[in-house]
């Protein structure tokens, strides 16, 4: 996306991004996201560095900020939109679950292993949870989720089958 770095967003780029994000955003939202991307990308490098993300105060006080920011290494605009896509009101439940799974699967091997869960719990529950308690919790979760040593996507999905993910919506501010 050469144009993104130099400042303009062409219609071709917009179409490409809409396609990449499975059409959950309309034109106005893409343009708005682009403005936001440009505002965050201080040096106009074409991607957003972790420091630039963490300079957002509301994000920096989020317990899983580090994981979120590492999850999408230095996103360019398309990747940025793909990351926000599951939070569109038009995204499917499946998309939201896939995103949550990707974040939880720290080593990215397609399974949530004990190590993955341990790392995530450290970020979610902090150091006041002792190692012993953490392992205990992980064992119980694995047990309740089907008994395997690690969770694949199907197990994750069925574990969350009763969860209402209606809260997982972010509205993209659009100038009217």
């Amino acid at each position: 996306m050469g144009q993104a770095a130099s400042g303009g967003l062409t219609q071709g780029d917009v179409d490409e991004v809409i396609a990449a994000s499975k059409g959950v955003f309309n034109q106005a939202e893409i343009e708005s996201l682009y403005k936001r991307f440009r505002a965050l990308d201080r040096g106009h490098k074409g991607y957003i560095s972790p420091e630039e993300f963490l300079s957002i105060p509301e994000l920096s006080i989020n317990p899983v900020a580090q994981r979120l920011v590492r999850c999408c290494e230095c996103p360019n605009f398309t990747t940025f939109v793909k990351m926000v896509a599951p939070f569109s009101p038009r995204a499917s439940r499946e998309d939201k679950l896939v995103f949550m799974f990707t974040v939880y699967d720290v080593d990215g091997d397609g399974f949530i292993s004990r190590e993955d869960m341990s790392m995530m719990l450290k970020q979610l529950a902090g150091s006041s949870l002792s190692e012993e308690d953490r392992q205990d919790i992980i064992s119980r979760v694995l047990e309740q989720a089907g008994g395997a040593e690690r969770l694949d996507f199907a197990a994750f999905k069925s574990a969350l089958s009763s969860a209402d993910l209606g809260n997982m919506v972010v509205e993209v501010p659009v100038d009217l």
């Binding site: 509301e58 994000l59 809260n167």
Partner: protein, 439 residues
């Protein structure tokens, strides 16, 4: 749960969505238009309570695996956040898009850049330099005396008027003209360095400024110093104590020239106002608020120092038709007996925000320069501890350590015990730096 909320999901707790903090009475709102801002420990407790409310606590499996809330907080902040909103300049709608308006616009551009701008620059150059020369003469030849000071002030006032004329400033001043008085300090909202020029062309002020570089530094040191302006470096932690002492010194002088402070500490885009730092409210002086509102009709006076050099900012001002502005001098306020300096600052901020039509945002302006989470890990730890307690409960253990909620309450009580205003640590951000009972 389960219904999508229409419109923007507003939360009174930045970075934590879906729950509106419990405000049993006005006092508990994080920031209200008319009321005070919260202390740090209380904010931590609000977050802890909101986290606690948000957790479903139905099953261990869900509470561990369902990270949708915290992910939504994060991505929501990535898409839009209330802090960066304060520093964006809104682009006006282009109006020159049709065949009749476009030529008119072109003519306008030509006049502004090729006629107005050169005239203004020339007049400014001549006038300003003449005044500088006179100023330096006065400075060097006369002995320090009341008359000399009066002359210097008049000269600075004229210099500022020359600049205002160069921008074709149309400025309306409302309210009584500031008079120097003992133990008085003036505070104003901050949009650009030109705020000072706009005010000074009407009535001279001394100011505490960030020392800049280049030719501005020359102006600052040579000329403004004679007015009693104080310099500081906002990243120097020690400077704060020094500056506070000098502020007190200045306002205690008999014929002190009015001292102007910008408690926001940074330029904001004139639509919002960020947290007022309590320095100016802590020295026991009467505070005279000043509200400045720029009309964006011809030009946006916000100086976005991250995006624009000051020179470019000035160029933009001098190539527009006019700079329209309203300045309100408001009723002097004193600190009330039960008020802490931070609450006093919040009250004055609410006054200024009302006149200048600004939305109050509870962030510290200095967050432009540092990472909040890094500097104040206390708040994140408190939020994490809430989940940790819930998870431990599933294991059948009551917490060995005091729970997050209890700790937050204790912290609040400890602060209240010492609360003569001085009990709060000198943190200048929303989140508390350290809870005393923290590990």
């Amino acid at each position: 749960m389960g219904e999508l909320v229409k419109g923007r999901l507003e939360s009174s707790l930045p970075g934590l969505r879906g729950i509106v903090a419990d405000d049993k009475d006005q006092e508990h709102a994080l920031v209200t238009r008319e009321g005070p801002t919260k202390g740090d420990a209380e904010i931590d407790q609000l977050y802890a309570e909101a986290e606690d409310k948000r957790l479903l606590k139905t099953s261990l499996l869900l509470d561990v695996l369902n990270i949708s809330n915290v992910l939504t907080d994060g991505v929501s902040a990535m898409v839009d956040d209330s802090f960066n909103k304060c520093f964006t300049s809104t682009r006006p709608e282009p109006w020159n898009w049709n065949i009749y308006l476009f030529p008119i616009w072109v003519v306008g551009v030509v006049i502004r850049y090729l006629v107005l701008f050169p005239i203004r620059v020339t007049l400014l150059f001549i006038g300003f330099n003449a005044l500088i020369v006179v100023f330096l003469l006065v400075d060097l030849t006369l002995m320090p005396s009341k008359r000399k000071m009066a002359m210097q002030r008049k000269l600075v006032q004229w210099m500022c008027s020359a600049w205002v004329a160069a921008w074709h400033g149309v400025i309306r001043y409302h309210g009584p003209k500031p008079t120097p008085g003992k133990n008085r300090i003036w505070v104003s909202n901050h949009t650009s360095m030109i705020d000072y020029v706009v005010l000074c062309s009407y009535s001279p002020f001394a100011v505490i400024m960030q020392l800049h570089y280049g030719w501005i530094a020359f102006l600052q040191k040579r000329i403004l110093s004679s007015l009693g302006c104080l310099w500081f470096n906002r990243t120097e932690v020690n400077d704060r104590a020094v500056v506070a002492a000098r502020m007190k010194d200045h306002v205690n002088k008999e014929d002190a020239i009015p001292l102007l402070i910008f408690p926001e500490g940074t330029c904001v885009n004139n639509e919002y106002t960020v947290m007022f730092k309590r320095g100016a409210f802590d020295i026991g002086a009467t505070v005279c608020p000043v509200a400045i509102k720029y009309n964006k009709i011809f030009v946006d006076a916000f100086w976005n120092s991250r995006r624009e050099a000051f020179g470019k900012h000035l160029f933009r001002l001098m190539t527009s038709w006019a700079l329209v502005c309203d300045v309100y001098f408001l009723e002097p306020q004193s600190i009330q007996p039960e008020e802490s300096p931070q609450e006093f600052a919040g009250r004055v901020q609410a006054m200024i925000a009302k006149y200048a039509n600004l939305r109050i945002v509870p962030w510290d302006g200095y967050l432009k320069y540092y990472n909040l989470g890094e500097k104040n890990p206390g708040l994140i730890e408190k939020r994490r501890r809430v989940l940790a307690d819930v998870l431990r409960a599933y294991l059948g253990k009551t917490s060995a350590a005091p729970s997050a909620m209890a700790l937050a309450k204790e912290g609040k009580a400890a602060v209240e015990l010492q609360s003569d205003g001085k009990g709060q640590k000198g943190t200048s951000s929303v989140a508390s730096a350290a809870d005393k009972k923290d590990r």
